[in-house]
Point group: C6
Chain length 265, copies 6
């Protein structure tokens, strides 16, 4: 049961940093103004937690389409806080866990955080933590209830906590009353202009100048007035596929037109 | 099972006071007449329990939108009763509990109360105790049935009990026949005029006089004839966020117009 | 499991009387003709069980709105029978019981009854025994099936049994085929005229004559041609609340107009 | 589990006769031609099982409205067969049984029957055995599947079996493919004419001649061209209630007009 | 669990023959051309399994209305194959089995078959193996998934397997993707002309010539241009019932017109 | 539970090759251009995994109608990669496994893969792994969640992984958010022209030239302008059935017109 499960969960201070860095494996490329703005809004929440006596608990939900960079940005804000306790709660470390084990793992992270004077907890991909699937729909109500309570529970006197969470399904969280348990939220959009695409491919040295010029021209001609829509994560994947092909420009353009011409869901 | 769970729950007299005080962490600011009226109605129920032989059991449901101050007010009424047994039943102390453990914990509080000549029990956030979620909808019927019975069960001869409960989902409780198990209810509204907002920000010294004057003018201009609607809890959160910003007035007004212009759900 | 549960349930003869008396804690005030009629109909069933060889099992369902006095009347009829075995089956004694424990408890009461030459069993608030909730709807089918069988099962040769049950949800019982398992039923209405209200408040000495006259006049003026509808249980609660107020008449009339002007559900 | 449950079920030869006689506690009153016809049809099935080599298994479903006499008639046919193995499968002996215990009990009766050269099994009130309730609807699929198989399973070479079952919900059985597992069925109607009512009350000596004449006249006048519809079981209950009253005729007629004027469901 | 269950299942070679013969208890009467055609199609599958290297696994579904002879025909084809391993998987041997026990029993039969160079497995009444009921609908998904995989899993190199299955609910199997897991299917119709009926009653010597002539004439007159529809199994049952009656012809004709005049479902 | 299950799963390096070869038991007949294209696209993914530092995890879903050759093609691509770790995850090896055992088996394969510098995992017939059935619909959410996480989880630094999966129900995977967890997908169509059919039957030497000429002519005449649609797997099955018949051409043409004239679902 839950209590048994709780005791088996070992405390694990300090290991979070490596985990958080792996979330930003391809760096943060500043391909648009909103990237800076998101990072500075994050900084403001960090300051509020550090300074205000009246609000020792602040929570923020990063949401946006598939692969738009939510996890990398949340990890960056958390890392930048320099709080003594920083921790990632991720479905990747809970493969095959029972509901009780998940609840115990999550509860343990919060209990550990309560012991530190200042803490950040990053809860990645909430819908996956909840075992959510649109058919039914089904999800773990027990994990949901745990989150609903922990998101509103004040840390003990003199302790402070910042919670950053990510999701691609804010609408689902809303239906669960989970969205309103957050104090604030930040939208992380997909890439929606060719210039940002150019900045990204430059950042990873996919093309020489001629190739890049030619690729961007193709894209401009193809899209005309309509807008692309592609997550930075998928864009990087397409770029790397193209890199294997003897005709990089053609493969890149063809695949991108295929995948990035309708709004990423 | 339930009986096993019941035995493991330890009696816990006297600890409630600290818990109840934490529910009123930012005090009770008297930003409107209805605050006084709610507190005096609460006092009347306390008197009825103390004095009437025919009604040794009285129950009251405090309901209203998110963050309107329900928990703080219930805790204040309970604390003011000076009854020898005062106890908080809260989902925050039951994270990860099984249905049986929840039922046993709740039943234990009532059994303890029955031993005291006069008692108050505060049941906070009933929908969370019930693990309620609108999708499905799902909830713990076992916990619900426990509450349905305990809310109507007379204490033993010569003993008296006041039950105060809070919820943001009275409609849901109604669908469950739970609302009609209460003898009475009290509505706790959100803040719906600018003067009350001014009283709150004065109460926490957010602005100097010039700043406050300017902030309130902005709000009056923006809302015109329409009405704000914001819970006191969210208002305090916005005020503390604004306090971190170099331009407090602008941040406060902008965020409040964002969050407080449609009726809080 | 069930058998294990059955063995743990101890026989408990003779204790029922106190329990049944507590169901009539405010007495039976004869505020209308139907009260007498219900009591004498109950007496007729008692006689049939005592006298007829062909019908050793008789069952009757008392139904009506919230707080109309069903439990008190069933308890009164049972107590008046003077049968050697009289027993109350109530959800209040089964808080937190598992389905099996509930079934075993109920089955045990019937087994004990079968040993007595003449018995009355009062089954109070059937919908609560079934853990019924309108959302879903959900209920314990195992407990329901137990009742469906026990309500029709003949006692052993030479033994006789009267079953009295109460419910506020006869419609629900009908949907479950449970209503048709009873031989007969009795409707217990709420109070629907001012004279009956007057009889009740006189019965508990709430007012002096001037106060009572003035209160009834207010009510007559307010309701005019329309009808009040209030359960005797709620009426007693309102009267006791009013008793605490410095202006009893005003509080009594105001609350009653609030709560008793639409038909009690 | 099932196997464990199966072993715990003790064989119980010979006890069935008393049980079957209690099903006919008020005898079989021949109040209409169809009663004779049902009994002789039953006899024909008994003969087929006794004589035909090609059909060692015959099954028949008795269905009809509430209290029409199904159980009493099935018990009578079974008793009249004089087969060496006669057994009643009834929900009344399985109160509180788990699904596995029910299945094991039923399977055991069939296994015992397979050992006898000729057997009759009476399965009373199939919908109750299945824990069926219209809300949902819910029922025990495990017990249903057991019946579906056992109803079609041939006894071992040289052994023969007649299965008689009763139900008030043939429509439900049809939806479950259970109705088509029977070889044949017999309809048992409720009483639908005043002469049959007269035969029944004569059979139990409720009235003297004057009283009976007067009661029947009242009924004829009240019903005119419309038809009564009342199960013989309910009719007997009403007669016995009336017997307690000082004015038997009035009570009998009033109650019967109340209960028997719309078709029994 | 499943593994435990699997180990408890004992291997059982050779016993199948008796079981299969009992499925053909009344022989195969050749009352129409299609009977021969079904048997020869079955023979072709047997040959394919024996001869083709490329298709070591062949599966065929026999489907058709209630009692049309599916089980008897599948058993006949299997018996005629003379393969060293022939086995019947039937719900009749699994009364009261848990899902795991059923799955283990089925898996065991396949494992045993894989050890023989050539095998036939007859899976009788698939919908019953699946505990299927139209209400809900409900069925054992675990058993279904087991069948879905085993129906497509190749036997080990050098081993061959023919699978024959029967069902009255091909539409249900289709909804479950189970129908498309079979390589082929054969339709087994009910009897739909009077000549076939005559062949069957002759085959069991129900009538002398005069009786038969007279019975067939009655049927021809009654049905005229419309068609009968009756499973051979039910026809045999009706014939045997009629045999008990003093007026065989009348009883036979009357019952057959009753039961066989609308298409068997 | 899952952890216990995980430990019981033994590592199994090297055994995969035989399993993968059995998936291609009838070879890869190049009956159309798209076969080559699928194989070379597969090769490109293999190269990307081998070469790109930025994308150590690549996943691809092969989807298409029943029997179109998905499993054989995925197995061929995997075998051709020459990666040190190649593994098949197939429902055929998990008959009767509990959810936990399935999850543990799958997780174990991934853990083993993470230890190898370069790995391919083939996940065959995802809908079957999920115990998916359209009625309900029902499926194992626990297995689904495991796949959803593992499909996106990066292998440890310096390790690379290619995931190839097959399904006939891409629409279902889409409803489960599972389709979007893949980086790319490949469509495997059924055979839709007579020339390809001819190539296949030549490849298995079904006919001599005259027979083949005659069979193709029949097909051309029958289909005219309309198109055939048949999976290569079913085509091979029909060819082998026909091989048993004395008139191969007739049997082949007749069966193919029956089964291949409407688009394979
Ligand atoms: N400006 C940027 N913002 C975010 N990520 C960036 C940016 N520039 C480059 N990246 C890289 O893009 C990838 C973004 O992937 P990430 O997992 O954060 O997306 P996500 O939105 O969380 O995806 P998912 O919807 O699958 O959870 C990371 O590898 C990150 O290093
Ligand atoms: N007049 C007031 N009434 C209630 N709370 C007040 C008042 N003035 C200040 N507060 C402060 O506002 C906060 C109200 O929060 P509280 O938790 O009681 O709201 P709530 O309605 O219970 O919220 P939720 O809907 O999340 O349960 C407390 O910190 C309390 O100290
Ligand atoms: N004539 C009366 N009939 C019934 N109860 C009466 C009457 N007069 C006074 N009372 C008092 O009114 C109260 C009726 O409460 P009771 O619990 O019987 O109502 P109920 O209909 O069972 O309520 P619920 O719907 O909550 O079960 C009792 O305290 C009883 O003593
Ligand atoms: N002709 C008759 N047929 C059947 N029962 C009769 C007849 N005459 C008198 N009785 C009596 O009527 C009663 C019939 O009750 P029985 O339990 O058989 O009805 P039922 O249809 O099985 O009821 P239920 O629908 O509740 O199962 C028995 O007590 C029986 O002795
Ligand atoms: N030509 C025939 N084909 C099949 N069965 C025949 C034939 N002639 C006689 N029979 C007899 O008819 C009976 C057919 O019953 P069987 O159980 O095979 O039907 P079924 O279609 O499987 O029934 P169900 O739908 O109940 O499973 C058997 O007793 C068999 O011996
Ligand atoms: N070009 C080809 N592509 C694929 N399979 C081929 C081809 N040529 C011959 N085959 C043979 O056809 C069969 C294809 O069967 P396979 O199991 O791969 O189909 P599938 O699409 O996975 O079927 P299912 O939908 O049942 O999973 C194999 O036996 C394979 O050897
Ligand atoms: Mg992410
Ligand atoms: Mg609150
Ligand atoms: Mg009551
Ligand atoms: Mg009956
Ligand atoms: Mg059959
Ligand atoms: Mg495949």
């Amino acid at each position: 049961d839950f209590l048994g499960a709780l005791e088996e969960v070992r405390p694990s201070f300090g290991v979070a940093e490596a985990e958080l860095q792996r979330c930003v494996s391809n760096g943060i490329i500043k391909f648009g103004d909103h990237i800076e703005r998101i990072l500075s809004d994050g900084q403001l929440f960090v300051d509020q937690v550090r300074n205000s006596d009246r609000t020792p608990l602040v929570s923020c939900l990063l949401h946006g389409p598939n692969g738009s960079g939510k996890t990398a940005l949340a990890a960056s804000i958390a890392t930048a806080s320099d709080f003594p306790f920083i921790k990632l709660v991720s479905p990747e470390t809970m493969v095959g866990f029972s509901e009780n084990a998940k609840m115990a793992t999550i509860a343990k992270v919060f209990e550990d955080a309560y012991k530190s004077p200042m803490s950040v907890i990053v809860i990645d991909c909430i819908e996956r933590l909840l075992d959510w699937v649109p058919i039914g729909p089904r999800f773990s109500n027990a994990v949901l209830q745990t989150l609903l309570v922990l998101l509103k529970k004040q840390p003990p006197k003199g302790h402070r906590l910042l919670i950053l969470a990510t999701t691609t399904h804010r609408d689902v969280l809303q239906q669960m009353d989970l969205q309103e348990a957050f104090n604030s939220d930040i939208y992380v959009p997909s890439i929606q202009n060719i210039r940002a695409i150019e900045t990204v491919v430059s950042g990873i040295n996919l093309f020489n100048d001629t190739e890049r010029y030619s690729a961007m021209k193709y894209l401009r001609d193809a899209w005309g007035d309509s807008q692309p829509s592609i997550g930075v994560k998928k864009l990087l994947m397409i770029a790397e596929m193209a890199r294997q092909d003897y005709d990089k420009v053609d493969k890149f353009v063809a695949t991108l037109l295929d995948e990035g011409s309708i709004p990423a869901k």
